[in-house]
Symmetry: C2
């Protein structure tokens, strides 16, 4: 009726160290501990261990397993939440795998030839932006751009098209908000600018000061003004004001 630790370990296919660990963290205590310190396990411990291993196989964390077995929280709802984590991680790995495949294609010289002209244009635009940044904000800003750009080195034409479409959609919403007379510093405007901030932040490690400075660029640089104001030539100054308000009110930016 009582099994020693290595006996249980063999039956369950885990190590004795693992069982000691589970004891240590309070996940599976032995039925009894004899005076010499030996751990002894019974049937109910085996049943509990069985459920532990089942959940562990699903990548549920040990504290989570403990919570589930304690009934702190319905098994079904816990599993549903866990499922979201697992699928999110799987999707992330899926994207990484796709990126690696593209990178390998690049390395093997099957270059981005079909869209060469597009990428030449992209590089030219980027060089111009780098020059502008250097002129306005100095050497370091240009370096920042270069590092950020390197992270999209593996992007394909369709990635850029997708990003451009997302950008146009966002500018469209901003434009409609402006046209409905909303103040650029109003909460409603800032909520949309938050998306703009997130999008910029995802590509480029901006701090509040840099985001604030971006307003100057959008308003003052002809190239940027052209991009932002393509559909609505009054958008650049409005967005610049909204960005400044966002930096100040939501990012706690203080003018130096």
């Amino acid at each position: 009726m009582q099994y020693s630790i290595s006996h249980v370990a063999k039956m369950a296919g885990v190590s004795a160290r693992t069982l000691r660990h589970y004891d240590e963290i309070g996940l599976l205590a032995p039925a009894a501990v004899s005076s010499n310190g030996y751990r002894w396990y019974g049937r109910s411990q085996l049943r509990r261990l069985q459920r532990i291993l089942l959940l562990r196989d699903l990548d549920v964390s040990l504290p989570q397993i403990n919570a589930i077995l304690a009934g702190d929280d319905g098994e079904a709802s816990a599993l549903r939440r866990h499922l979201m984590l697992v699928t999110a991680e799987r999707d992330r790995l899926d994207r990484i795998a796709a990126t690696i495949v593209r990178t390998l294609d690049d390395l093997e010289g099957q270059d981005r030839l079909p869209d060469e002209e597009f990428f030449r244009g992209l590089d030219a635009g980027r060089a111009q932006l780098a020059a502008t940044l250097q002129e306005r904000f100095g050497d370091a800003a240009a370096s920042t751009l270069q590092i950020a750009a390197a992270r999209t080195a593996h992007w394909t034409r369709s990635d850029y098209d997708q990003a451009a479409a997302d950008g146009r959609e966002l500018y469209g919403r901003l434009s409609r908000t402006r046209q409905s007379g909303v103040d650029p510093a109003s909460p409603q405007a800032l909520d949309i600018v938050a998306e703009h901030y997130e999008a910029v932040h995802a590509m480029w490690p901006v701090d509040p000061a840099a985001y604030h400075a971006l307003a100057d660029l959008i308003e003052g640089d002809a190239q940027q003004r052209g991009v932002v104001g393509a559909e609505d030539r009054h958008l650049p100054p409005w967005l610049a004001a909204a960005i400044r308000a966002y930096a100040i009110h939501r990012l706690d930016y203080r003018r130096p």
Copy 2:
């Protein structure tokens, strides 16, 4: 030309702590360290950092990145190997996600009704096996079976069908090997038994002694003999001999 640590950190969107860590592990040393201990980075460090971050985004480990940048090993081949790891992990998470979904279906009562009869038969067979194990090898062996069975609690009918098909295929190959007059203790036979061992081991944490004992069951228990010898009634004793040889020669099993 020289950037301070927090300056580089801001440009690259990482923390100063991260840069110190990279210095510590020898992944990215500063261009110079002044007498007060301050780290100073130059352009070439920025370029290296850019490549580091690119690979880090692909989940390449820091030592691996170091090896790749040192040119120890072609970038392409390193990435190909990494790709296999990533896709394997993604597939694992994919299977886990599918398992969780099935488990949730079960929990919500949409039980395995359509195949109820099949599962009743499975449970009956398993109960009989448990009884046999208990009789032959004692209580503990029956517990082992129970723990192992719990791990297939989420299997669906098609999982079982797949496993059964795999089993039949394996028995078929073993049978053809036997019929061609191969000795059960020959390397050729043991190579196929290795697959049998792997399959058993994946489901059931067998040690060499348990695997050796399985031979007795296959030879002596009517139920097991029926399964293994379904297509070839001379297979059970031959396989039993091969299993014993495998346990002794490849798993270093010694008779007590």
